[in-house]
Amino acid sequence: MRKHLNGRPIVRGRAEGIAMVSRQPLGFWGGYSPTSGQIIDQRHERCGEFAAGKVFVFPRGKGSSTGSAILLQSIKAGCAPAAIINSNTDPILALGSIVADELYGKSVPIVVLGEEAFSTIEEGDRLTVDENGQVQVDRPGCK
């Protein structure tokens, strides 16, 4: 099955990867390891799992403004998600990705989808994000 969702490109770019979906917000400072790409917030439902290289789908960031520094460092270290899809704009995450683009010429595309579109993405979907904020969803095994 293939469908297209239209979102707002917060940080523009192209990326593809497998969806890792959480319904809980995540603060990156104290929540995401920039050296391994692992979720480390012990109160988070995906704690211990790796989001590096995946399209990380979660509603929004939260907590410390040092979150942008963590995302920047993880992009540098090659341990960032391939792309981020949120349902709320989080300036802190946007900032980390924009600074990485200015500094290293590489960034994590960030797209914000409306609640309804956001909730249709499932764990394991193959997602392709484009520069205009369109998300192509391919779900294996469905016609």
Partner: protein
């Protein structure tokens, strides 16, 4: 591009004011789009939080800006950094970590920042005025600037703060604008006796309680007695900005633009009214501790945010009042402060008391940003709501929250012992 730029903005963006200013302006304009701001506006002061975390990328960012010739355009102070720049060797900090931190500090100082290195910038050099438009980082300082001083800042994170300092500009939106500073949520204290507020720890408990209730809205606090010290307001703001994301709390009778409840809301109807009782405060206080009464104590940390001169005075008085003459030998007693406050202490008799008791003073930094808390530390005690909130997750310790007097007595006893609050 939807953001409308002034001629001066455009000159920076085009690189006519140097490569450093170009990079800073480019980040600002892209962030203005994220915020959906229509234009940029002037700020006349900045406080940098991005100098606090030690990471390779953070260092490279600061050095890139500095080497591209970026200089701050407005008076700019620095938050605490990753190192006690003068005394780091005494705290067993690894050489490699220190070398990076020293380079990072040098880059920020080269850009013209004032080396204040403190997370309590409102108690030292360059305190903003009422109504002043500023770009501040550091959650406790942001809340204090908006709520106590009546200056105007959004929550600026690492690394937009230095971009604002270099350009003197920020996206025109949020708490910089009158219409967004009206109260939205009412928090009303009921049945809290006046004496309660004399207890050290009561304001931190209140802050810890307020954080999640305020969400990211403009909250109005009614019913707190207005005779409150800077240090108590500091404790309140630090705790609230840790347990929540609040950036402006109108404290009726304290906040300059909220002398009355009506002024705080300015025509808005509260979308939510929450009553805060003595029982809620007691529950918040209990929630700040993960360690138990009687637990063996390893480390006391005071000064989160950085200790002021008057807090040092209070500590010296408490130490002088003890019948014992020393702390239990297993307990380390650390005070975190900034250079400005401590330089006053060094010229006073307080210094002899601190020395006699073996109190260790760390400047420029804090235990969350410099690796000074070893794995042998299991139980940490503090009178800070912020330190108590972050310590279990960030430092892997159990934490006991208590008043400054409780911290001193517990350090003497070698175990957690607190007066009932």
């Amino acid at each position: 591009m939807s953001v409308s730029l002034s001629d001066s903005d455009r000159q920076m963006l085009d690189g006519r004011r140097g490569e450093g200013a170009k990079m800073a302006m480019s980040i600002l304009v892209r962030m203005a789009e994220v915020y959906e701001a229509e234009e940029l506006m002037d700020v006349s002061q900045a406080h940098i939080d991005g100098c606090g975390l030690m990471s390779e990328a953070g260092l490279e960012f600061a050095e890139a800006l500095a080497s591209k010739g970026a200089r701050v355009a407005v008076p700019t102070t620095l938050n605490m950094g990753p190192l006690d720049l003068q005394n780091w060797r005494e705290f067993g900090i690894p050489e490699e970590f220190a070398a990076g931190a020293i380079r990072q500090a040098a880059a920020y100082e080269r850009m013209g920042c004032v080396p204040t290195w403190t997370c309590a910038p409102y108690q030292g050099y360059l305190t903003p005025r009422f109504g002043q438009q500023i770009a501040w980082g550091e959650s406790n300082a942001i809340l204090y600037a908006n709520s106590v001083l009546g200056a105007r800042t959004n929550r600026y994170g690492d690394y937009i703060d230095i971009c604002a300092a270099i350009t003197g500009r920020v996206p025109k939106c949020g708490l910089h604008l009158d219409e967004n500073r009206k109260g939205q949520i009412l928090l009303r204290l009921v049945d809290v006796e006046e004496e309660y507020w004399n207890e050290d720890g009561s304001h931190a408990a209140l802050g810890h309680l307020i954080g999640p209730l305020a969400e990211d809205k403009v909250a109005v606090l009614d019913g707190m007695p207005p005779h409150v010290s800077d240090d108590q307001l500091k404790a309140l703001c630090a705790a609230a900005a840790s347990s929540g994301a609040v950036a402006l709390l109108h404290i009726v009778g304290v906040t300059p633009e909220a002398k009355t409840l009506e002024e705080a809301f300015r025509g808005n109807t509260p979308r939510r009214v929450v009553e805060l009782t003595r029982a809620d405060l007691a529950a918040a206080l209990a929630d700040l501790s993960t360690a138990s009464e009687g637990d063996p104590l390893d480390l006391v940390v005071l000064g989160c945010p950085h200790f002021s001169f008057s807090e040092f005075s209070q500590l010296a008085e408490l130490l002088n009042g003890q019948s014992a003459e020393a702390f239990d030998p297993r307990v380390e007693f650390v005070v975190i402060s900034g250079r400005a406050s401590f330089s006053l202490v060094q010229r006073s008799e307080i210094m002899q008391v601190l020395n006699a008791w073996g109190v260790r003073v760390t400047l420029d930094t804090c235990p969350f940003h410099t690796p000074m808390v070893g794995p042998n530390v299991k139980v940490l005690m503090t009178n800070s709501g912020k330190c108590a909130y972050y310590a279990p997750g960030e430092l892997g310790v159990r934490v006991a929250f208590g008043s400054m007097a409780d911290c001193v007595r517990s350090a003497v006893e070698g175990r957690v012992c607190r007066k009932e609050l």
